[in-house]
């Protein structure tokens, strides 16, 4: 088996490694388009192309871990079979050199060779083998505008013998003339049910027991990114180490996913003058817990206490985005706050989110959010600015 090593890199690494030792994200990468969870519309359209021997240029877009790369690879494999895959499919991704001239050269060279189409593969299966080649431009949103513009001509010049599939996260980064040449397929974040059934499928195959609560925790922490939930599941299962007695708890998953524990967020909210007894974290708890919490009488927040708290959280190393999103929920979903205050706070959160995306300093922005929110929350009368 190991002889094939590098040669088969294009077919995915599955030949190279003992499947026992393979990360589950690769091990359970869909092999056919019917294995792809959730993206029903896309799969339905693509299934037709398997019989019709024609294919439009395509543009796949959507957030990470929703099956874009998997779908095109599976489709290509179903069209050509393992033998012809290498001669018929060219995959170029952002890690390859993608200056215009290089792309043009590669595509030219690739499109020139007309391979003999053996329709029946070595494994005895018949593949459609339509008379064109597929060029996959994965991560196309990181191509420069110039390279994209040049691609238009290339697409037209080779239209007879090639089909392009552009794959990206942000469809807005693809220039319009290019996007309009393709049929667009949107990959949605995976819905709860699809994630659940895929995870349960994997758990069954791997002989691990996963409680429904744990599955819920996986769904909640991964936000529709199936790749992430699979990685979390695998890591958690390593912790329990195949030991049947120790089961994976929702808390394990949250820990792995970097979720900040409720107590810490509640404490943060309290520092800002928010009463966490009315917040979202209390929804599932009973009154006895609350009785204990009354003891925390509210000190009016001041600069020093807020800054001290933020410093503490930063030392804990929690990710800024995670802190913000959880604090956001603690404030916006709190039943004891005036909606005017909430709308002020929402603006503050939005601004900070943008700043973090632009790479601004986490500590400064979390402090800013905390200070400004506490100002609104504790203002005697909400100001009207």
């Amino acid at each position: 088996m190991f002889l094939k090593g590098k040669q088969t890199a294009k077919n995915g690494p599955k030949h190279a490694v003992d499947p026992q030792l393979q990360p589950w994200v690769e091990k359970y990468r869909p092999k056919t388009i019917d294995d792809v969870s959730a993206q029903e519309h896309t799969v339905a359209v693509l299934r037709k192309t398997l019989t019709s021997t024609n294919l439009p240029h395509m543009l796949f877009y959507g957030p990470p871990g929703t099956g874009k790369t998997s779908t095109i690879l599976a489709l290509a494999r179903q069209l050509y079979g393992p033998d012809n895959f290498r001669t018929r499919v060219l995959e170029l991704n952002a890690s390859d050199e993608r200056g215009i001239s290089i792309v043009r050269e590669k595509i030219k060279a690739f499109a020139r060779q007309t391979p003999a189409a053996t329709v029946v593969a070595a494994d005895g299966t018949t593949y459609p083998c339509p008379p064109f080649k597929i060029i996959i431009l994965d991560e196309a949103d990181s191509m420069t505008q110039d390279a994209q513009a040049a691609l238009r001509r290339i697409m037209e010049n080779y239209a007879r013998i090639t089909r392009f599939c552009l794959v990206c996260n942000y469809v807005t980064r693809i220039i319009e003339p290019l996007a309009s040449r393709c049929s667009k397929f949107r990959f949605k974040p995976l819905d709860t049910n699809s994630t659940q059934s895929r995870l349960e499928h994997i758990a069954r195959e791997e002989h691990i027991t996963v409680s429904p609560e744990t599955v819920q925790a996986l769904i909640a922490t991964s936000g529709g990114d199936l790749r992430r939930s699979i990685t979390y599941l695998q890591t958690a299962s390593r912790l329990t180490n195949g030991n049947a007695d120790t089961t994976i708890t929702p808390r394990d998953i949250q820990e792995i996913a970097g979720v900040v524990p409720d107590e810490i967020i509640d404490d943060f909210a309290r520092t800002l003058g928010v009463d966490p007894r009315y917040g979202p974290s209390r929804a599932n708890k009973n009154d006895e817990d609350d009785a204990m919490m009354v003891e925390h009488t509210f000190k009016k927040p001041d600069f020093t206490s807020v800054r001290g708290k933020v410093g503490e959280l930063i030392r804990e190393g929690y990710s800024g985005a995670q802190l913000l999103s959880q604090l956001h929920d603690a404030i916006i979903e709190n039943n004891n706050l005036d909606s005017k205050i909430k709308s002020h706070c929402a603006l503050v959160f939005a601004e900070a989110d943008k700043a973090l995306c632009d790479g601004a300093d986490e500590e400064l922005w979390i402090l800013d959010v905390a200070l400004r929110c506490s100002k609104y929350i504790n203002a005697p009368v909400p100001t009207s600015t």
């Binding site: 890690s95 994965d138 996260n169 790749r227 990710s319 800013d368």
Partner: protein
């Protein structure tokens, strides 16, 4: 003679002092063959690098400690030559691509292709993959990050990435989706006390409680700093009693001076004087973010309570602009002018709402 920080750096996962449950987790991951790509994040000095090396040792054994440092030359598409230092063993390679600024993509691409193309040669190796450690991953350019994406999936059979970063917000979502995120929190004061006591015991001296407390308070969760300070203090006053002066780095003293200038006088002349100081700091390669944060922290200690929040707010705003813009000094200076204006108007008791 090596420094205590290096001399007493724990080498095995079991020897790590704090976050024992995290160590246990890493240990079980290292024992299983299906180790994922990982992203270690947390404040500096919390022990990320130590944990990474201990994890590598758990995966590959002592062999990873036999390292050599190479200087490698990469050529950019524009034919520029780049020198990069790489640290490597038979099992892993470590690089800091942010050293080469915007050319980081070229370096990453070449190294990864090279690693991915070679199989593990050591037949006794416990794993078939090699590990690539990327330091300061949060300063990788977007381009370089994009280049990692598909590579991380395609070459997973021969290669695992370990990214090391202070924060995760500068990494693009697809990268985070492909990694297991490992948070390394700063040690708590108690945990730091324990480590300092351990070092003192090994060096065979008594560490007075008062000294330990002072060191821990000063280090603010940075374990490396705490041990360095301990060693420096021990040299200054061998019995570690009495009034210990923890020396501040020059740049910090300098930043404090700037803050005091801002609070003392708010005039155009003063702005010029402050600018000269900023130039000085920048020319000594103090990162502009560190400058604005250090100055702001000091300013808020000096101004009225009503102004503190605003000072920090504008520090946050101008720090962000600094990231987006290219002339750092403009934004530092703009912030100073803003703070001076706030301060002055406050002193003259003018309604602030128009300016804030």
């Amino acid at each position: 003679m090596s420094l205590w920080v290096d001399k007493y750096r724990p080498r095995a996962l079991d020897d790590l002092h704090y976050h024992t449950d995290l160590s246990a987790r890493l240990k079980s991951l290292a024992a299983s063959g299906d180790f994922p790509h990982m992203l270690f994040y947390g404040p500096s000095g919390a022990g990320k690098k130590t944990r990474i090396s201990a994890t590598l040792r758990a995966i590959f054994g002592n062999g990873v400690e036999k390292i050599k440092i190479d200087q490698r030359v990469f050529v950019t598409p524009t034919k520029r030559k780049l020198d990069v230092n790489v640290v490597q063993s038979n099992f892993h390679i470590e690089l800091t691509p942010s050293d080469v600024g915007n050319y980081d993509r070229v370096v990453i691409q070449e190294i990864l292709k090279e690693i991915a193309g070679t199989q593990q040669i050591d037949l006794n190796a416990k794993q078939r993959f090699k590990v690539v450690i990327i330091n300061e991953a949060d300063s990788l350019s977007r381009d370089a990050q994009a280049a990692l994406r598909r590579t991380m999936e395609k070459y997973m059979s021969n290669m695992r990435l370990v990214l090391c970063a202070n924060s995760t917000s500068k990494l693009i979502a697809p990268i985070k989706s492909r990694c297991l995120l490992v948070r390394v929190a700063a040690p708590s004061p108690d945990e730091m006390h324990a480590v300092l006591a351990h070092v003192a015991k090994k060096e065979k001296f008594d560490l007075p409680q008062s000294a330990a407390e002072q060191i821990v308070a000063d280090a603010n969760g940075n374990m490396r700093k705490a041990i360095l300070v301990l060693e420096a203090l021990k040299m200054q006053s061998p019995d570690l009693t009495g009034d210990l002066k923890i020396a501040k780095p020059d740049w910090e003293t300098y930043c404090h001076k700037v803050a005091d200038m801002i609070v003392a006088e708010q005039t155009p002349t003063q702005v010029l004087a402050v600018r000269a100081k900023f130039y000085e700091l920048l020319s000594h390669c103090i990162p502009p973010t560190v400058i604005i944060k250090t100055v702001a922290e000091r300013v808020v200690e000096r101004v009225d309570g009503a102004l503190k929040a605003d000072v920090m707010h504008w520090a946050a705003v101008y720090e962000m602009r600094m990231r987006l813009g290219s002339k750092k000094i403009f934004h530092l200076e703009a912030w100073v002018v803003k703070v001076m204006t706030l301060h002055k108007h406050f002193m003259y008791d003018i309604d602030l709402s128009e300016f804030a």
